[in-house]
Symmetry: C2
Subunit: 654 residues, 2 copies
């Protein structure tokens, strides 16, 4: 719809305020999982030491949730109004939005009518949908993943065949004969029966039980090692990497395509704007030169549009510099090329001092050798912290003497303060704040100063035998030292001066920008699996009674959940579930989780963990690798393209 009211609504809807409100609402409804009934507000999730968590009174989280759902209802109604009924019916995302909202409302009323005692909350599972629905990039990525599923399935089939074949061979090779022999006892645990053998080899596919599964057979005859090495080589090196290749192949050009689409859209938008403006010009007065846009009209529009002020200024300057009356379509298009150029910020002029002394001081402290001195001091600071860490390593914390380190710390912090003041004096306040690295230095110095002053106020001035007491988790003094380590980030600014490091660093920065969609999908996966995990496994891991406080738990076999004391890795609340899922995603030692949950919850729990392994470790990690490859190669190609371009230009000018 393009009538005036719709346009007004559209502008309102896409204004930053309402978009921020929407984002905040999504964040809020997702964050509710942390404080809802199995609340995560305890200091530890260890089942042995965990205090009873604070339970929110019935109605608190539900109230917040109602507010969020109201916002979403407003969102979906505005969106469907803007899109129109005909489009709405065809758009599966909007329809799903409506359905999810309705289901959530019904579940919410059920929940309230049961006074928050309902066994399952379906709406918690549906919440990530709001996040996914709001991001077009995430929808695109999801579509891309859906396309590559058949290819992944073909590799999955090969992997399954590989696994089955080796399981059969393994069971034939290691029948666990001669039970009386001690060396064969362990052999039984890995290839005892079909599910056991399958699990052993599945875990070996992730290399998480690598030498262990091989040891009993290998200890008997060294030729048995060939079986395990062949399995890992084919499964883990060949097929898994082939999966990576397939996923990368699907995502190759994904970034390129999305960039091209956004460029095309902008072109279209500019063209449309040109049409509108030129028709206005034609209406306003008869120009003999034909169609075109009056620069004044354009400037008027430009003032009203929300744009980055730097870009706005650059366009205005370019507009003023040109001659001629009306803008042609090409010129109009070219004006917007300014967006692609990086705006080089000009340094504001340095303050001018009259006195000769002040001028020379300004030259001295504005010179970049002064920066080098600052870096040297920071390095010294880091080295002292390091040295004292090494020296204090063998001293018990309560016997440590922090006198010298306290004095040195004071000196360094005073130096940073002095450096900041001198730089402000030399460059002027605006000149100082224009560079990001200076802002970082200034902030760090301010934080350090505040911490140091409060440390001195609490523990008084360092004297021999000075020993700050711990308050809570860390003493104020430890916090000061921790923040002091952040001074290491000063060295990051050396990176752009090394050519290759600069590419690498800019890839990382770009990656973080492009990663939001991927991160969002990971967040959705984590959320859904954590909620399912909490529903399935809440309270399944139980503390081992009073015997747990015995000095060592010799009763549990080595390598088991109990012996490794993985009591913190449970599904009793949302935050603990997230960390448990992270541990499974990292894959190392996940057989411990498989085994423990098989014992505590039942053999069907394996399905949950294997599914999560497939989603997170197999699919998502490969996606992430594909994204990094794509970003890096894109960056690299553009850089070498630019280099060859400038080379050509240089050759031409010669």
């Amino acid at each position: 719809r393009v009538d005036a009211r719709s346009l007004w609504l559209c502008r309102r809807y896409y204004s930053s305020t309402s978009q921020w409100t929407l984002s905040f609402t999504i964040f809020l409804i997702l964050a509710l999982a942390f404080i809802e009934t199995p609340s995560s507000l305890t200091s530890t999730s260890d089942v042995r030491y965990r205090p009873a968590p604070w339970e929110p009174p019935c109605g608190l989280t539900e109230g917040v949730e109602a507010l969020c759902l109201l916002v979403f209802a407003a969102d979906v109604s505005v969106k469907s109004y803007l899109v129109g009924w005909a489009q709405f019916r065809k758009n599966p995302w909007l329809l799903a939005y409506l359905v999810v909202l309705l289901v959530s409302l019904v579940d919410w009323t059920v929940s309230l009518s049961l006074i928050c005692q309902e066994p399952v909350r379906v709406r918690r599972l549906l919440r990530p949908f709001f996040l996914m629905q709001n991001s077009s990039m995430m929808k695109k990525t999801l579509k891309c993943i859906r396309w590559s599923l058949p290819e992944m399935a073909s590799i999955g089939l090969l992997l399954a065949a590989h696994l089955c074949l080796f399981t059969m061979l393994g069971m034939l090779l290691f029948p666990g004969e001669k039970q009386d022999d001690r060396r064969d006892r362990q052999r039984l645990t890995y290839f005892r029966n079909l599910p056991e053998a399958l699990t052993s080899l599945l875990v070996l596919l992730t290399t998480a039980n690598n030498p262990d599964v091989m040891i009993p057979a290998y200890s008997k005859n060294r030729l048995y090692a060939i079986f395990f090495i062949a399995f890992t080589l084919i499964g883990s090196l060949f097929l898994m990497n082939l999966l990576t290749a397939i996923i990368y192949n699907q995502f190759r050009g994904y970034l390129m395509k999305s960039l091209q689409t956004s460029l095309l859209r902008r072109r279209l938008g500019i063209r449309a704007a040109y049409k509108v403006l030129s028709s206005m010009t034609a209406e306003g007065g008869a120009h003999p030169e034909g169609v075109g846009v009056k620069p004044q009209d354009f400037l008027q529009v430009l003032q009203k549009v929300q744009l980055d002020s730097d870009h706005k200024q650059a366009i205005t300057e370019k507009l003023h510099s040109r001659s001629g009356d009306l803008l042609s379509a090409d010129e109009f298009q070219k004006l917007f090329d300014e967006f692609d150029k990086r705006v080089i910020k000009e340094h504001p002029p340095r303050p001018e001092y009259r006195s000769q002394f002040l001028q020379s001081a300004q030259f001295l402290f504005g010179h970049h050798y002064f920066d080098y001195l600052g870096n040297l001091m920071a390095l010294g600071n880091l080295v002292t912290i390091c040295v004292f860490l090494v020296l204090d390593a063998h001293v018990l914390p309560k016997d440590r003497d922090d006198f010298v380190l306290g004095i040195l710390n004071c000196v360094f912090i005073l130096y940073y303060l002095l450096e900041m003041l001198l730089k402000v004096f030399a460059l002027g306040l605006r000149g100082y704040l224009v560079s990001c690295s200076n802002v970082f230095d200034g902030l760090l110095t301010a934080v350090l100063l505040v911490l140091e002053i409060s440390t001195l106020a609490v523990y008084r001035f360092p004297h021999p035998g000075w020993k700050p007491e711990a308050l809570g988790l860390l003493s104020l003094w430890d916090v000061t030292r921790l923040v002091n380590v952040l001074i290491a980030f000063r060295f990051l600014r050396i990176i752009p001066s090394m050519e290759l490091m600069a590419v690498v660093a800019s890839t990382i920065l770009d990656l973080i920008r492009n990663m939001r969609a991927f991160g969002g999908i990971l967040a959705v996966a984590y959320y859904v699996f954590a909620i399912i995990g909490v529903t399935l496994f809440r309270g399944v891991i139980v503390a081992p009674g009073n015997s747990s406080l015995a000095p060592d738990n010799g009763s549990a076999p080595c390598g088991s959940f109990e012996q490794l004391e993985y009591w913190t890795n449970n599904f009793d609340d949302f935050a603990a579930a997230l960390v448990t899922l992270w541990d499974v995603m990292v894959v190392n030692n996940w057989q411990v989780f498989l085994d423990a949950f098989r014992r505590y919850a039942g053999p069907w729990s394996k399905i949950y963990f294997v599914l999560w392994w497939l989603v997170s470790s197999v699919i998502w990690v490969n996606l992430f690798l594909a994204l990094i490859l794509e970003n890096f190669l894109h960056k690299w190609d553009r850089r070498s393209h630019l280099q060859s371009l400038t080379g050509d230009l240089g050759a031409t000018s010669e």
Copy 2:
């Protein structure tokens, strides 16, 4: 040199006989490591049960070595003669070859004069050079790796900075205070002092100690998990994958380039051959049409050249089919395009039978439905083996009754035999042997038949309670079942009928072909590191006295080398060293090796293991991934290119 004698020598040198001799010599000298003084000819490398290995008498391996060195000396002299002195001086590989040979000879004489009691054999370390020197692809790959070293170094620098920063933060955060508290005891083991903390985080970078290192701190306060998750996220996901991207970027186009170079070389060679032949024609008789090659001359040359007979035939046919007298340069070039086309083997004609019955039988058994029946039988065979494995899982091996399975096995093997005979009858012997899958079936059937007959001969015909005895490692009956599982490979032939699977499978096949250079480099790395490892750590791991035969070793802490019984993973002989290096390359649980060798050999052993980790797991595995990506994308692009080409052709013909 191009005089007649050199050419003769050159042809002799590059003949398949002498190249095979050279390859075999290289294989022989490399294989010597298995039987030389710490000989690997024991059934197990477990230090507890290992018998005294057979030691070769002094002079045996040295004699073989002397023969090999003589072959190499002949090789280097022929090569240098062919290349000429001027080129020889400039070629670093040839110079190095000579030096390595001289050093080996000197070391060999020293070894003999000391009656094989010398402490170190330098020449063992130099042996992989012969392998590397002989393969031009390996030299190229090595050059490629050398080029990407600076870029890897930049990421390495970032990784090191990341590691150092987090080590400092970790030591500040986890000072190991309050030693009396049980929960803090473990905390000390990971961040006790600087080397310990650095090792913990280095191992965490490979995720090999993932939940363990986190548990003590996380159990105290759940916020500490953020530290470890951030470390793994940045180090393992970001930086390590960026390293993959950098290595892939360097190797992108590597395959393409090497293909192009070999094509270019062939073109040059063909062009030179054309020049020579046309000059001969010009000398032979005056042709009015100008320069060109007489087809008869070409055919004569073709007969003498060593070529694949299929290609030779195709070229001859093409030559006969053309009209005109002299071959122009273009035509000459085009003749050789036949090499790029895959030769489609024609099926030899089926034998023709007179009788109506035989003809219909031939139709029946030559039909591909008969293949499906065979596949069905093979599936049935696999299913029966599987079912009996599951059924027998809970029965002790000595109580198992193999009567039914023995009978079924006989039936299946008889069916395979029948199938083979019927197929030979239907297709004729040549028609049967033309397809690779039939040859595989035939071989498998023959092996199975021999095994089955010998099983019957040894254990007599199956009767209720039939139970084949084990002879050595496996009973003959187990071997029969193992070979029977190989029938699963019959199903591989279904793959090419699924489009995507076909691409995947052909990628794997191509990969194996292209992998020789990479595999060679890995072999060199393994060889060198294994020899160094044997020199450094031989006899370092000692058996735990008589106490090891106690029923369980409760004295060793959980997760230690002794508790996990990794006694087989030592460096006491070459084969054991290879497996140990493999285990470290797979990375899982490598902290156990680090810890054990620190205790047994000294803290400097860490350098060896970290170096091996860098070479194998970081560089080589990434190289391998790059190779797979390159191969797959190349294949994929060519396929889609071919598809678009045929699409265009179809459109044009319409």
